[in-house]
Amino acid sequence: MRITKFKSVLYTLLLCIVLTLSGCFKKQSAGDESDTEINPTAQTGEAASPTTATTAENAAPSKVNVNLYLEISNGMKGFMPSATAGKEATTFQNNLNKLLSEVQDGRYVANKGFYLAKEDAKSRPVLDSVSYNTIKSYIVSGIKDDVRGTPLPAMLQAALQNSINQEAVSIIISDFIHGPDPRDQGQFISLDSDIRSSLREAEHQGLAIAILANTSEFFGTYHPAVKTPELRRTLNGVEIPYYIWVIGKQQDVQLVTNKVLRNLPLQQAYFGFEYESVPFSALLKEKAFKPAGIVYCSSRNADPCTSVNLQPGKNEPVEFTLGLDLRLLPASMQSVDYLKRNLKVTGNGSRPALVSVTAADESIKATPDLAKYSHFVRVQVPQLTANSGSISVQLPQVSPNWIKTWSTDNDNNPVAAPKQTYKFSKIADGVQALYRDQSDYVFNATTQFIKAD
């Protein structure tokens, strides 16, 4: 009798415990929900500004107007030898054909204009508006006109002004061998400032410039800028540089380089490119990027996490990974090698150092939380010098190395010194000078930190 009573009491007791426990777990999940309900308001406040900023950059146009300018001085003839059966087309002819057809028939181009750039008898630039078929026949069967020189700054200015009036992106194709009036050789000295003056409208209008350099076999008469010892040389298949300049609004230039030009050469230079903000986050709970030392996100559920608490120990530096989405940057800036060479990590109140830069691999792309980031930067913080501050990952505006190697002070003998253009670095200096007063960084991703208690 007593035992049965004991048993029944025990059962009711167990039941009670089970009920209390299950109640407890419900309570916990309810607590969780209220947490997540409270936090997002704070997060969205933080997240809102970068998102809106990026959408402005993100809002890449689906179509752009394009004006294509082909310089047709005598120096360009060698790139476009007239076609004969059994003779291979030059790289220039192949690439330009593709480009022309992409501009003419591609889905990313709205209004298009084709221009032949030359000079008149008084060395003034002339832009001849021509049809697609006309410009194509120039590419495939050669230049019939006799155009002596290329007044480079004046030509750039005329082309730019024309495109600005028509709200179009300029694509300018030339060998960029400056050929001023023979009576005015002093222009060589002031080439950088002349280029700057000619393009100042681009800077005023907030336009960016992409320079793409390639080489092509050259058949025919080569006119060097330096006229001694040879005034001209006949070349038979030597590689000579030619350049494609794209000038327009940053996102339009991006569209043209990525969707219209497509296969870009290795030599790329970008001027006036700037990103107000790139999406980024400190990745502290991802299994793929485990942090080291005492570091945690200041807000428990923040996504993206842009503020961290950390406390480096004497023998235990803090190390963590930042995920960045750099997919909107120009192609060459997205290469891991480029980023490794140029990315800077600076701190305010801390002494951070860059550990490594990696691009997203397939397994990361398959992870939903990580798929939105294209690059991962590991940062080490060995010590703090203040209780709060910031850690910035920055990409400085740098002039690419190839510009120096592609530039020469004497282009008289391209056989001995191939792939070089007369004073090209001076031309690039002029372009660089345009944007001198802009931000020093292509982008700047700043994480706030406070010392952990």
Partner: protein, 137 residues
């Protein structure tokens, strides 16, 4: 406030949460939840033992060994809850997790004992369980 109290209670013994990247999860969720449940469940167990079983129902479970059974039961619950909390919040398991569970068990023993001392005088059959002190009659 409550968060800080419970974080302080556990971190006083355990040190800062490990792995450190889950510090906020421990401080904002796991510590307060576990601590609150520890208080509530311990109190409930004591109330059930002294007032339900040994006053309203008169079950005869007034011997010290019955009290010990409840003490152990409470300790087991106190061991399970922290681990469930850590797993439920998708926190990486670490030796810290089990140290935390162990510390919670110790706290549960202390709390159960303290609540017993405070509340046993209201019981009819078990007012001397586990011992007579401090009640006098």
């Amino acid at each position: 406030m409550i968060q800080q109290f419970f974080s302080g209670l556990y971190e006083f013994v355990l040190g800062r949460p490990m792995p450190a990247n889950f510090t906020n999860d421990y401080r904002e969720v796991v510590f307060p939840n576990t601590g609150l449940m520890l208080f509530i469940i311990s109190l409930a167990m004591v109330l059930v033992y002294y007032y339900v079983l040994n006053r309203m129902m008169s079950t005869g479970l007034y011997k010290p060994r019955h009290w010990v059974i409840f003490l152990v039961l409470n300790a087991i619950i106190a061991f399970i809850i922290p681990i469930a909390q850590v797993n439920g919040n998708e926190i990486e398991t670490h030796s810290y997790t089990y140290m935390f569970a162990f510390v919670n068990v110790v706290y549960s023993l202390i709390l159960f004992f303290v609540f017993s001392l405070l509340l046993k005088r209201g019981s009819v059959q078990a007012w001397t369980t586990p011992m007579k002190w401090p009640n006098k009659k």
